[in-house]
Symmetry: C2
Subunit: 366 residues, 2 copies
């Protein structure tokens, strides 16, 4: 008990420290920009940020592919659902062992702002998986009219609560809420989504290990490894460079020694570049962006995109489709992840894994 209270007091000194970290990302942009023009010609980086606009897309792609097929065989499906279940079972065993040995279980706090249907579905899946694995779960919901301060206060209270080892803010946040400001409040040691810039920097830099690797990219690489796909020395193309998936996926694949190209909406000839890829990861949420003709025969295709389309035949009134035209791509690829049932379940499994890891680190539970 004395040890536990010592751990808690160390953690509390950490929380206090973290709230100061707000000042370390440069928010004085107008300040810096006016000055940059005088000595340097380089603009501030945030002045370069604008939303990606992908040209054209279709929710249908049943037209025959014009690509020469390697064979008429269908690419092997990477069963993310099955692999995620195996991982969640593994987590459950460890949670049980922790409970027996030290009387504690990992705890995950999720904060959901607004009424997005897809976000609600994702959160529901996370709750279900936590129950399955024996992880304590808390959901805090806010309306999309709430203030940044309300969300920050909730995060700070979980920062202080030693029974929660992971905190996750379901993204995207409603417009008008400052994502950077909100995420910066979240304690690094509970950042099981791995979105803190310190975690991202440690993911990027050789010789370093982040506390947590973002769940979706980590899930993608785990799928590749479990499918026996060689990453080292291979050409990988990541479509999209979001902070949540595209960026960390490219960094993680680089750490695995792939030769990585990141394609964004400004790339003039994306299909030429993707046709060189041994491994293609697409994460933009544009339905059927990637056609069969975009792929090299035998490529491994990981489809992170999810886009909800109305479908009354589905229980929830909609179904999810991916970035990749599955019908076409499955005839060209050697391995392919389906949507749904590919990367999605892996994201949840990795979240549970990271939460367990966090509890293990905090309790020094080997």
């Amino acid at each position: 008990m004395a040890l536990k209270s010592k751990v808690q007091s160390v953690l509390i000194s950490w929380w206090r420290k973290d709230t100061l970290l707000l000042s370390t990302s440069r928010t004085l942009n107008t300040f810096a920009t006016g000055y940059d023009n005088r000595i340097l010609k380089s603009p501030s980086l945030v002045s370069l940020d604008f939303p990606d606009e992908w040209t054209s897309s279709s929710t249908n792609c049943n037209a025959p592919s014009t690509n020469k097929l390697a064979s008429e065989e269908t690419g092997r499906v990477i069963d993310g659902k099955q692999i995620a279940e195996e991982i969640i079972s593994g987590v459950a065993v460890e949670v049980e062992r922790m409970k027996k040995k030290i009387g504690e279980v990992p705890g995950l706090a999720v904060i959901l702002v607004g009424e997005r249907r897809d976000s609600q579905t994702y959160v529901r899946n996370k709750i279900k998986a936590c129950e399955e694995a024996g992880i304590k779960f808390s959901l805090t919901e806010f309306s999309d009219k709430c203030s940044e301060d309300e969300v920050c206060d909730a995060i700070m209270s979980f920062n202080m609560d030693p029974s929660f080892h992971g905190i996750l803010v379901q993204l995207p946040l409603p417009q008008g809420l400052n994502e950077e400001k909100i995420l910066d409040v979240l304690r690094l040691e509970k950042d099981v989504d791995g979105f803190h810039p310190m975690n991202m920097g440690n993911l990027a830099m050789r010789g370093r290990e982040p506390l947590f690797i973002p769940c979706t990219p980590k899930g993608c690489v785990e799928l590749l490894i479990r499918s026996g796909v060689e990453i080292m020395g291979k050409k990988a193309v990541v479509i999209g460079r979001s902070n949540i998936v595209g960026l960390p996926a490219s960094l993680l694949l680089q750490r695995h020694h792939a030769t990585v190209t990141v394609v964004d909406a400004l790339t003039s000839n994306p299909e030429e570049i993707t046709r060189e890829a041994d491994i293609l990861v697409s994460a933009v949420g544009v339905p059927n962006l990637v056609r069969g003709s975009w792929l090299k025969p035998g490529a491994v295709v990981v489809d992170v995109g999810t886009y909800p389309v109305e479908d009354d035949s589905c229980e929830q009134g909609y179904r999810l489709i991916g970035d990749v035209c599955y019908e076409e791509a499955s005839r060209v690829a050697s391995w392919i992840t389906p949507v749904p049932g590919g990367v999605g379940p892996m994201t949840v499994a990795m979240l549970l894994y990271n939460t367990l890891e966090s509890a293990r680190l905090i309790y020094n539970f080997v």
Copy 2:
């Protein structure tokens, strides 16, 4: 005076905080690795780190290029020396203004460990440039037999000294000294080299601005901008993925909306990839790795590599050659940086700029 002492006390509370940050990069690798094998197949990231080994190279490349030349004209030379001088003059003007207005000048502390001849040259250039710009300079030298603790103690004393706004540890460190451990001691707010993982994460993530961008990549991009080279939508290839140059260069070019590919020593066909590049940045320190035949006609070539070769005709007994075979490349490229006199002086200019920026932020001097 009261304000100044308040600033100092805030800074001191920052230093204290930073020493705790040591715990945020996961150093418990054996702990994590043994466990990863049970639930996940993914290895720990540092277990994937090994030194790049580039195959073959030559210090001579006068053989005629086999590449079809765009024309017999020579690519225009990007005069890094001249541009760096302009920037240093601009910094000097601002330093003078700061001195007049608030009676303070920026201060830079450099720590040099060991006897590397090239490191000594770089440090000498930094001292000279600081003198030129009116920046206060301090050099602390250690023998290569010193302990990590000695270096860390020196850093911590500069962390505490409010007259130094930038601290730089000249890399590489002698073998046996833990670079991560030493750099982690350095206060984020004085990390004018931009190598702290927090700065690297903020450089990588859209919507964020690092306190400092690493000097060499920042210098490369400034050279491109000043030469009127369009970056947005262009294909850029970065050869090498060191934490110091290759990685931050790729991140910075991405923030400028280039489509970036990072080539490393494991890439099977680097010359095929570089032949697609509109902009090529090479940063591996392998003399004449990049031949004329590696380039697309009209490409812009930024040569970061420096490799010392013995040359008695030079004052210092050696001269520097780059990664790029200049004779061949200059006949294919539209723009090219020479070695020396290209990126090297820009690195120094950017260091001075970052040091000035740091002092401006700390003194809130607009």
